[in-house]
Symmetry: C2
Subunit: 128 residues, 2 copies
DNA sequence: ACGATACATGAGCGATGGTTCATACATGGA
DNA sequence: TCCATGTATGAACCATCGCTCATGTATCGT
């Protein structure tokens, strides 16, 4: 029994494998949520910004730029993006603006990111 | 005491905050590792592919395409990228090719991704 | 051997994203 | 009030990315 061609132009070959999965793969909404979250760390500049902020309580823009070797303008663009995605928040003191990680959710994400990056993979077969 | 202008064109304002962080922010190598890992899930198509594979032992290309509503060609491109980044591996049976998650490291990453996406954030301030 | 099927890949295209440059805005010091 | 400093933002540019289309390759059935 072939399942009907409703999803795309190909047929389903193993309905007994696919049947139980229908409706269980993440929805578009959840997929977007995953993408938004993981995109925070899918850029080397953002990864280093978030990591630096995870090591300190808060840092001002020019200190962050200095520490990471970034231009002030480039850093400000990324900080705006991180603010919009609710990963960081800012506090103004005169003309100095301090940034910090927004909550423990982001802090844990950064920690997990480092752990994933550094832990050895299980020994894997070479073929790709 | 101002730290010297070696990193970029701006000065460092708070050397007492920045000093302890020098050398502790992730290196370029680690940052690239984080990016490679998190980029796997920073795309809705890849996120759904990996999630579908996490729900089944293995799936063939046309079943995956059918289940996710993707074109065979687009899916194959993404599978090649996932193979190259050692997230999935494949097994050929005649002209059918089955894909599966490569190891428990990827499986845990996908599980964590879903948990991150679905758990409520701490109640956050509105201002961005 | 030939045709069908499953899958892979390259080229092309449009969209997206990151950085630089220039400039604007907010604040503080003289 | 004026100038300096810290920060933010828009425009432009260039590189990258994801998908479609067309086609190639491997395998199976007749």
């Amino acid at each position: 029994m072939e399942l009907t061609l409703e999803r795309c132009e190909v047929e389903c070959l193993h309905p007994q494998h696919v049947g139980p999965l229908i409706g269980r793969v993440i929805s578009s909404g959840d997929a977007e949520e995953v993408v938004t979250t993981f995109d925070l760390l899918a850029d080397p500049t953002r990864a280093r910004i978030l990591h630096a902020l995870s090591l300190a309580d808060e840092l001002c823009v020019c200190d962050l730029a200095w520490l990471l070797g970034l231009s002030q303008s480039g850093l400000s663009h990324q900080l705006r993006l991180l603010r919009e995605r609710r990963a960081v928040e800012r506090r103004r003191a005169g003309r100095i603006v301090y940034y910090r990680l927004r909550d423990c959710h982001i802090r844990r994400l950064v920690r997990d990111a480092l752990r994933h990056a550094r832990e050895p993979r299980p020994r894997a077969r070479e073929a790709v």
